[in-house]
Amino acid sequence: MQKGTEMKKILILMLAIGVVACLVGVGSFAAFNDVETSIGNTFTSGDINLKLTGGVQNGDSVTATWKSPDNWAPGEEVSATLMMTNIGTVDAKHVRMDWAGLTHGSPNLMDEIIITTFAEVCNGTIYPSSGNEATDVAHACGNHDDILTLAEFVSTSWITVDDWTGDGITLEAGDHNDYGYEITFTFDANASNSYQGTSCSFGMVLTATQSTDMGGAIPLH
């Protein structure tokens, strides 16, 4: 009986503490305060936005930059320039060249198409100063001889690490239409009759990137 009375006292005490705690809580909530907000703080990321010019415009991409006539004969050439521009807000350090949609018949016409001119167009100026680095590119791929066949050219990925200005940037932001490739493809004058009527095609995939990772691609110069 006495034990029960003590128990009751303890319970009442705990309730009292709980009520006081609540009151203290309400009291804190009601203290003076003032709130001000700095609104509209934002982060907006820039972008690299590549556009191509050369051949038939197809949205961001282009088609048929280099296309032979149907009566393309040994000794004749196809020449065109593909220009790039970065309409984004972030400079692109590197431009990487990969390949897609490679097709050919048998025999492989790509073996008889020789890249006789390869030059880079940088801010309106042709580089290298000789106007042609096809031989240098030839030395870096395939059988490393002086002749650069289309088959050798598309056998690897290439990368431009700057636009000959030495600033480490290939495509400046701001739509300067400032970098491109001038390429002449020549149908080998010594191609045999077995190549009559054969055809081949390729897609040149260009990636303008902020990264300096060359990812196994061979530098173009």
Binding site: T65, S68, Q196, G197, S199, S201, M204, V205, S211
Partner: protein
């Protein structure tokens, strides 16, 4: 121990985030598609025949001095590349007759007319590769070959024979 584990997990998480950051550097890719090359064709027919189907045009026996004739054929470029036609008499066999000397090819007069213009005349034996003229893609031209064994030929050609191929070539 628990704190050490949590610290390690935090370090790993930060490392992972840094990794994602490097991987996600800005880039944009565009493609120049459908670049294509197709080789043209150079394809010659003779009276619409080619290969082993090209007929024999001259098969004369019992020739005698004063004999002659004309054969005609049409050359056509059924390919897509313009070309240049040529002709050659490729002698493959000769037989000596009475005097055991093969004199017939050196006696027969030949003249070759292409597209209405006389292009070559001389003895059959001398008709080596001779350019006739241009033969553009999808075009055709007439060839006329006049031959004769001159009346001045004598017994030296009696019993002689000559076998030759008429070789028409279309070069780019």
């Amino acid at each position: 121990m628990k704190k050490i584990l949590m610290a390690m997990m935090l370090v790993a998480l930060v490392a992972a985030l840094v990794g994602v950051g490097v991987y996600a550097e800005f880039s944009d890719t565009e493609t120049s598609t459908q670049n294509s090359f197709t080789a043209g064709t150079l394809n010659l027919t003779v009276d619409n025949y080619e290969g082993v189907s090209v007929p024999v045009y001259i098969n004369e026996t019992n020739l005698k001095p004063g004999d002659g004739g004309t054969v005609s054929m049409t050359l056509a470029n059924v390919g897509s590349i313009d070309g240049e036609a040529s002709i050659e008499a490729d002698i493959t066999a000769e037989g000596g007759g009475k005097n055991n000397y093969a004199d017939l090819a050196a006696s027969i007069d030949v003249s070759v007319t292409y597209a209405g213009t006389l292009k070559w005349s001389g003895k059959l034996v001398n008709l080596t590769v001779t350019v006739l003229g241009s033969l553009n893609a999808s075009a055709s031209e007439a060839v006329k070959i006049d031959w004769s064994l001159p009346s001045s030929a004598g017994n030296e050609v009696a019993g002689d024979s000559v076998v030759f191929n008429l070789v028409f070539t279309l070069n780019q």
